[in-house]
């Protein structure tokens, strides 16, 4: 779904380029979506229309649920959420210090080592935080 983006167009374009570079450098990554806290797609690679919009909404719901759980458990702010299946994984990472709050969803096949995927995704988050914070 098109978003009334809270970020400057130049920042969104730069974020889009970061997502593209990340996906091209990690061949088993199927989809990356940068999402506002209330479930709007800010940038995505590859752009897949309705699928991307649904992943944006679902990842924001899951992130909010994870946040509610960690708050209930007294664990503080949630950094990431990992879903593993037989064929792949989905990671939702909270970006620090973006206003409004944003998160990154990464979906990859299980040919990618999960640890490497998390490490690469966190590096991508740092790039995005810098880009969106400008």
């Amino acid at each position: 779904m098109a978003t009334p983006s809270p970020f400057k167009p130049a920042a969104v374009e730069a974020a889009q380029r970061h997502l593209e570079a990340f996906a091209l450098g990690n061949s088993d990554v199927a989809l990356t979506v940068l999402t506002s806290g209330d479930g709007f797609e800010i940038a995505a690679y590859p752009a897949k229309g309705p699928v991307t919009a649904r992943v944006a909404a679902m990842s924001s719901s899951m992130q909010a649920l994870a946040q509610a759980l960690t708050r209930e458990a007294g664990l503080g702010r949630n950094r990431s959420l990992i879903v593993e299946t037989d064929t792949g994984s989905a990671i939702v990472l909270d970006l620090d210090d973006t206003l409004p709050r944003t998160s990154l969803a990464v979906i990859a096949s299980n040919r990618e080592l999960l640890g490497k995927l998390i490490w690469a995704s966190r590096n991508l988050c740092k790039q995005l935080e810098k880009t969106l914070g400008q």
Binding site: P4, S36, G37, G39, S61, A64, A68
Partner: protein, 187 residues
């Protein structure tokens, strides 16, 4: 109701209808909330919006525990409607009478949730209905009646505990009316 004496009631309705407020008003425990900042002020001028669910609990005098789930109001979170509606023993639909889409919202959510939770008690609360006349609810009843749907509809202010309690009590009354009479043993 399950063996443990618990039942699940779902509050649904469009964004801003008062679902989070209702659950907060009635829950015995601080509700679980997944509200985040609302970035789409053009669609709805509201500071925050629910993106996953609200959850609260209410203990009744007979020991029954009512689990209260609130759905996100926005259509893009409709996948949560299916998840939350599953296993519900009753659905309470809240509608904002001030919304220009109030009647369409009523029809849309009624059709959707009667599909998700078929055969379960369905009760409607109309909020912000400033017209105190007896027939102020008539347009809402008539809209559903044109589709052959007859359900209890109340004018409510969900900030008031007793109004939300009325909606829950109505669901409970419908459930009780459906229960089979207890069999009496033979002497």
């Amino acid at each position: 109701m399950n063996a443990a004496g618990e039942l699940k009631i779902v509050f649904t309705g469009p964004m801003g209808a008062g679902k989070t407020t209702a659950i907060t008003a009635i829950s015995d425990t601080p509700p679980v909330s997944t509200e985040v900042a609302n970035n789409d002020q053009q669609a709805f001028a509201k500071a925050s919006t629910t993106v996953a669910l609200d959850f609260g609990q209410l203990a009744l005098s007979d020991g029954t525990v009512v689990r209260l789930y609130g759905t996100p109001g926005q259509e893009r979170f409709a996948f949560m409607w299916e998840i939350l509606g599953r296993g519900a023993m009753g659905v309470i639909l809240l509608i904002d009478a001030n919304s220009p889409n109030a009647l369409n919202d009523l029809e849309h959510y009624t059709r959707t949730f009667r599909g998700i939770s078929p055969g379960q008690p369905f009760v409607v609360g109309i909020g912000r209905l400033h017209d105190a006349a007896d027939d102020a609810l008539a347009p809402f009843r008539e809209r559903l009646a044109t589709h052959g749907i007859v359900v209890p509809i109340f004018s409510v202010d969900v900030r008031k505990h007793e109004d939300t309690q009325l909606l829950i009590a109505t669901v409970m009354a419908i459930l009780e009316a459906r229960m089979p009479e207890p069999e009496h043993g033979h002497a």
